[in-house]
Structure formats: C-alpha cells, structure tokens
C-alpha cells in the first residue's frame, strides 16, 4: 500500500519537475527577485542628462536667486538642472520662441514666474515632458523655498531662523517582537504583501495544476488502469503529495537563492528603497505550513472538479465558487493589516478556506497568541481531512464519467452514494 502510494508520488513529482515550465519558473523566480532589487538601484544611478530649463522672470527681481537655487539641486554628484536665463519678457511672442526651441530640442522646458508670484504663489512650467514628477517636484520645492524666504524677509523675519524653528518632526518606527526591537521603515508592510501575493498565487497555481493533471488522466483514459490498481483515495493522495512536493521544491530553491543573495549583499537585503526586515524562523515555518495546508485544501477541491468535468473549459464555471473564499481572504488584507488583532481578523483567520492567507498575514504583521495559531491550524487540518474524503468520493465516481458536465447537486449525490 505505501509502496504504491510512493510510486504515485514519485511519478507525479518527476512529471512536474521535468517540465520546462517548472525549470524556467524555478530559475526565473530568483532572477526576477534580484531584478526587483537591482533595477531600481541601476535606474537611480543612471538618470540621464540634466534638464535644460530656462527661467522667465516677469517679476524682474527673483531670477538670479531662483537660478542659483535650481543650479544647486543635485542628483548624486551632478547638477540636475542646466539653467539658462530666459529674460523677463512673458509676452506671447517670447513664449512662442521658447516653444519653438523646445520643439527643436534645444531646450527641455521653461519656468514662467508671473508678476504676482510672490503673492499668489503660482508659477508655470512648460516642457516637452511633464510626467517626470520627481524632477518637477524638486524644481517646485527649490523655487518654493526661494519664494517663502522672500515672503519671510519682507515680513521682517529671518528665513534661516524660521527654517530652524519650523523643522519637520519625524517618527521612527521600531517593531518589537520576541527577537528584540528593530527599526522598520515600512518594510514589514511590503514583505507581508509580497509573501501574501506569492502564497495566494502559488496555492491557486498548484491547485490548478492538480486539476489539469486529473483532467489529462481522464482524457488519456489512463485513469481506469490506475483505478484498477489502487484505491481512488491512494490515487488522489499520491497526486496531491507529488504535485505539492514539486511546489515545495520550487519554494526551497527560491528561499536558498534569496538567502544566498542576502549573504552576498552583506546581510541586509534591499528591495527598492526598503531594507528587508528580518526573516524569522517562525515566518519561514508559517509560510511553508500555510502554503502546504492551503494547497491541500484547495487542490483536493480542484481534483474533485477535475474528476467531474471533461475539459479545462468546462471546469471554469465550477472553479470560481470553490476559490471564492481565497479571493475574499485576499480582499481582506487591508483590514487585517490595520488591526491584526481585531475581531474581523481573528474570525476570518479561523475559517478554513481563508485562514491560510489571513492567519499567515497576521503572523507576519505581529505574532498572534499561540492558541489562535494552533486553533486555526487544527480547524484547517480538520477541514482538509473532510475535503479529501469528499474529493476521493467525487473522484471515484467522476473519473469514469464522460459526457455531460454534472451539476453541483449531482456531485453531492455521487458523494452520498459512492
């Protein structure tokens, strides 16, 4: 019996692992992850040439100061703007001339400071590209600083002093957990979302894989030969374990390469501007646990659907209601993240179809009481046993059924009678 189960597990595992899709996905995962880290760094380094901007000063008194302030805006070592004096003529004809220069690519843009800019605080930028928000924000802030300083000076206040007095406050966040305290710049939030996304996609993807493989067995008719050799429960279990092991293999490869990369990066892993928070053993263990539990729950249901239908197209109508809890769990994340110990989060993290995502999210954000984690897992395991029992019965009847797709009540009848 166990030798047969082992043979099926091995076959299913090898069939998945040997596909090109698996090999590519396994290698591409880490490549994508390192890409996510490297690309922003490289992009930040190579911003391109400085913007050539002309300053048109209709006030006739701000020009020099604004030019100086803009020339001081730096991107790393290099100045960000290449400033040209645009004179004080804001007449239509003068502006037209600038427009023509822009179209001839002799200029990237020009800043128009109207006569009343000191009072109204409104200026205009004309440019070939106005979607470069970061650059334009730097420009606004530098010029704004000049204007505010002027206002302060004309009110008899010392701009330097005011600046010192109105300096912004900052809030530094430290996450306190069993392993001590650690500064967190929003990284937990990002990590939680990334892991949640991976968990969600993987559960669906590997579940879908189980369903497709059941349908293929029906299509190739090999299933009758298999059913004559082993009980349908063994067949189902072997498939679930084999495919799940392939999924786990992929995660382990990813985890090790991530770990390797973090060693290479000197411990602190950087994604964009975030320093990755510490990946604790609890986090790693709960990721693997909830992947496996979520996978077994949903892939058993997927297997039952696969057994009931004849083609993947036919399956789509039955898939949606089955994966609905998982989708709802995904929708819940902002609420759960906001108050991970609130009544909604606690309740939803106990519901079997939703707990793989929600309980995991709670664990990432803060460590919930142990009894809640254990209860959630116990309920989920009980539900999995029921679902496997249910799926095995649908499987036994369904794999020999060809032709019309059964309705849901018909499937329930199969389970009662098999």
């Amino acid at each position: 019996m166990s030798a047969k189960l082992w043979a099926i597990v091995k076959r299913e595992y090898l069939e998945r692992v040997r596909t090109k899709a698996f090999v590519i996905g396994t290698i591409l995962g880490p490549v994508l992850m390192s890409g996510m880290m490297l690309v922003p760094m490289l992009a930040a380094r190579a911003k391109g040439k400085p913007l050539r901007v002309a300053v048109v000063d209709a006030t006739g008194q701000l020009g020099a100061e604004v030019e100086r302030a803009l020339a001081d805006v730096r991107d790393g070592e290099r100045p960000r703007f290449e400033i040209r004096r645009g004179g004080g003529d804001a007449s239509e004809g003068a502006l037209k001339a600038f427009n023509q220069e822009i179209n001839e690519q002799a200029l990237d843009g020009y800043l128009l400071l109207p006569r009343d800019v000191l009072e109204a605080g409104s200026m205009t930028y004309y440019g070939r590209n106005v979607s470069n928000f970061a650059d334009l924000e730097k420009l606004r802030s530098a010029v704004g600083h000049v204007i505010v300083s002027r206002r302060l000076a004309s009110a008899g206040l010392d701009p330097t002093k005011v600046g010192a007095l109105t300096r912004d406050t900052e809030l530094r966040r430290y996450r306190v957990s069993a392993s001590g305290e650690r500064e967190d710049q929003g990284a937990t939030f990002v990590l939680a979302l990334i892991l949640l996304m991976i968990l969600y996609v993987s559960i669906l993807m590997w579940g879908q894989m189980v369903m497709t493989s059941v349908i293929e067995e029906k299509t190739s008719r090999v299933v009758e030969v298999m059913a004559s050799g082993v009980p349908s429960t063994t067949l189902l279990l072997g498939k679930l374990i084999g495919v799940g092991a392939a999924g786990l293999t992929q995660f382990l490869v990813w985890a090790f390469s991530l770990f390797g990369m973090s060693l290479a990066a000197g411990g602190a892993l950087v994604i964009g501007n975030f320093v990755m928070p510490e990946i604790t053993p609890l986090l790693l263990a709960s990721f693997v646990t909830f992947f496996l539990l979520g996978y077994f729950f949903y892939s058993s249901l997927y297997a039952a659907i696969g057994a009931a239908v004849n083609t993947v197209q036919e399956a789509q109508g039955l898939v949606f209601p089955v994966v609905l809890p998982l989708i709802l769990a995904m929708v819940c994340w902002p609420a759960v993240m906001q108050s991970p110990d609130g009544p909604l989060a606690v309740t939803v993290s106990m519901i079997p179809g939703m707990s793989p995502l929600v309980m995991f999210l709670r664990i990432v954000v803060l460590t919930p009481p142990a009894w809640q984690m254990l209860l959630s897992i116990a309920l989920l395991v009980a539900a999995i046993l029921f679902v496997i029992w249910f799926a095995a019965r649908v499987y036994r009847v369904g794999i020999l059924m060809y032709g019309k797709r059964p309705t849901f009540p018909e499937i329930v009848r199969w389970v009662r009678h098999s």
Binding site: I8, S220, E224, S228
Partner: protein, 305 residues
C-alpha cells in the same frame, strides 16, 4: 482454495435509472481461457469494473482465487480495459515499470522482467521514447505489457487484438496461449468471434445485464445442434432463405451458413441447391459462435419484449 479463479455470485449494478447488471453469476475455472461475450451495452465492462473494484456492486459477492475480493487479491489480476490509457508524456520504460509498481512489483524486478517482453513485442528500440510518439498498434502492445508485467494469476483483457495488424495479432495470441500454458487464467472480452472461437475453452454470453448462455465452447456448440450447413457456390443464392426447412441464412461472403429448423433433413436443401447453383462446397458443420451469438441474443430480446 477452490477450482475457480473468479466466482461472481448474484452481482447487480444499477446506474441512475437503468440496470446495467442484474443478478449475474459467473464461474471462471482456473487455468482456462474464458470468453465474456455480449452485444454493446450488455454490461460486460461494468461487470469487469466491479471485479476490479472500480465500481462497487449494489448486491452480490465476488471471489478472486478462492478468497473474498480485496486489494491484495486484485494485485494478482492484470486488467486491460477497453478504454486503453497510458500517460502520454512518460517514457515507455518508466511507464511500464511504474504500472508494475502500482501492482506491487519492486522497480529492479520490473526492469529485469521488462526486456524480454519488449523484445517479444518488438518494442525494444522504443523503450526510451515517450508514449505519445508510439503508433496506435505499439501503444496497444505497450498496454499489454503494462497489464502482464506483474505476472498476474488472472488476466482480464478487453478486445486485446483490436488495432493490431495480422502479425501483431499472432504475437498477441501466442502470448496469451503461452501465459495460459504457464498457469494463468484468462478472461477475454471480445466482439471478434473468430478469436474467441479459436482461443476460448468456455464462454458466457450476457445481454441486457443478464446471463443468457454459459458453458464450454464444445458443449455450447453441441447444444445448438448439428443442423448447420456451410454452402459455397457460384451464382445467385438468394432463394435459399425461402426454402422449406431453412431457419436462417448468414452470408459470410465466401460461403453461406445455413441454419436448418430443428429436425429438418439437409437432403432437400442439397437437392435444391445443386439444381440451381454450381456448388463448390456442401458441408454439415457445427454452428459458428457468431451464429450462436446472434441467434441467442435475438431470441432473448424477443422473449423479453
């Protein structure tokens, strides 16, 4: 330990609304070749599936090799279903070893047994190829190896020759006969009456889920009398059907099989035929299994109606 490889006792199976098998009892003696016959939809496949526990019977009991059917006993059966199936993307060799593994044969042992079979069925050059690269006939042979690699005591084959060329058919027939000689019991379900006639010791005919005929082939033939005439001729023989004393005519192409009414004398037929046709053959023969099949099923349906 009794003398039967398979004993089915009053098994029944109904699907939503219709009865597929009704109180069917069969005894398959050990070391025999047993033909399971019946028209399409008679319940043959359902019966075989119940033997293999792919379907559970609603009533009745099944014994395999003298013991109540369980998983261990079913491992002693090799089952080749009518709907063939192999994993399309699996390499042939791995596929066959895997099929033996789910019948409980260790990998090393299965690999050892595989080579002679591959050679015998001319598949040795294809062992590293994927199943979906094989032709239909090769897949059929591969399926057969998958069925017998665990050296079953009972072999259940559904249409084993379909899709094979004459050479393949002969190889398959020899393989079946050899296995029988080695002590295997074979249950053969087929519509190819000539194959059944040549191979089987015993036959059972089921129709509409009930058994309508059962016994040794010689016995069944004897029971259907010595009143069949094989008639080969040149000319138009269509008038024969209308002659007095003739019950039924089957045109086999090269000859007519003429069934006389019970107790009728073949002499008037000979006389009439020789007057109007150029006869090449006139022979009193045993009825063919084909004719017995058609006759029995027709009569059973008339009685049921």
């Amino acid at each position: 330990m009794n003398d039967y490889a398979l004993v089915l006792e009053g098994i029944s199976k109904a699907f939503a609304g219709h009865v597929a098998v009704k109180e069917l009892s069969l005894r398959v003696p050990r070391n025999s070749i047993f033909g399971l016959l019946g028209p399409n939809g008679a319940g043959k496949t359902t019966t075989l599936r119940m033997v293999m526990d792919i379907l559970g019977p609603d009533a009745g009991t099944i014994e395999i090799l003298g013991a109540p059917a369980d998983h261990a006993a079913r491992d002693r059966i090799g089952y080749m279903p009518e709907e063939r199936g192999l994993y399309p993307r699996m390499v042939l060799e791995e596929q066959l070893v895997f099929m033996a593994a789910i019948k409980g044969v260790p990998q090393a042992e299965a690999t050892k047994r595989l080579q002679p079979w591959l050679e015998r069925l001319s598949l040795a050059d294809w062992r590293r190829r994927k199943t979906n690269e094989l032709s239909k006939g090769m897949q059929q042979k591969a399926q057969f190896i998958a069925t017998v690699l665990h050296e079953p005591d009972v072999l259940i084959v559904d249409e084993p020759m379909s899709g094979l060329d004459p050479v393949g058919t002969d190889v398959m027939r020899e393989a079946l006969i050899d296995m029988r000689r080695a002590g295997t019991t074979i249950v053969l379900s087929s519509h190819q009456m000539e194959t059944v006639e040549r191979l089987c010791d015993r036959v059972a005919l089921i129709d509409g889920g009930v058994k309508v005929l059962d016994g040794a082939v010689s016995e069944v033939k004897a029971r259907h009398g010595k009143n069949t005439v094989a008639l080969a001729f040149e000319g138009d023989g269509s008038f024969i059907e209308g002659l007095p004393g003739v019950a039924r005519v089957t045109d086999h192409g090269q000859y007519f099989e003429v069934r006389l009414e019970d107790g009728a004398d073949p002499q008037p037929l000979l006389k009439a035929a020789s007057e109007r046709l150029r006869l090449r053959r006139f022979e009193i023969v045993e009825p063919s299994l084909h004719d017995i099949f058609v006759e029995t099923v027709t009569r059973h349906r008339e009685e049921a109606a």
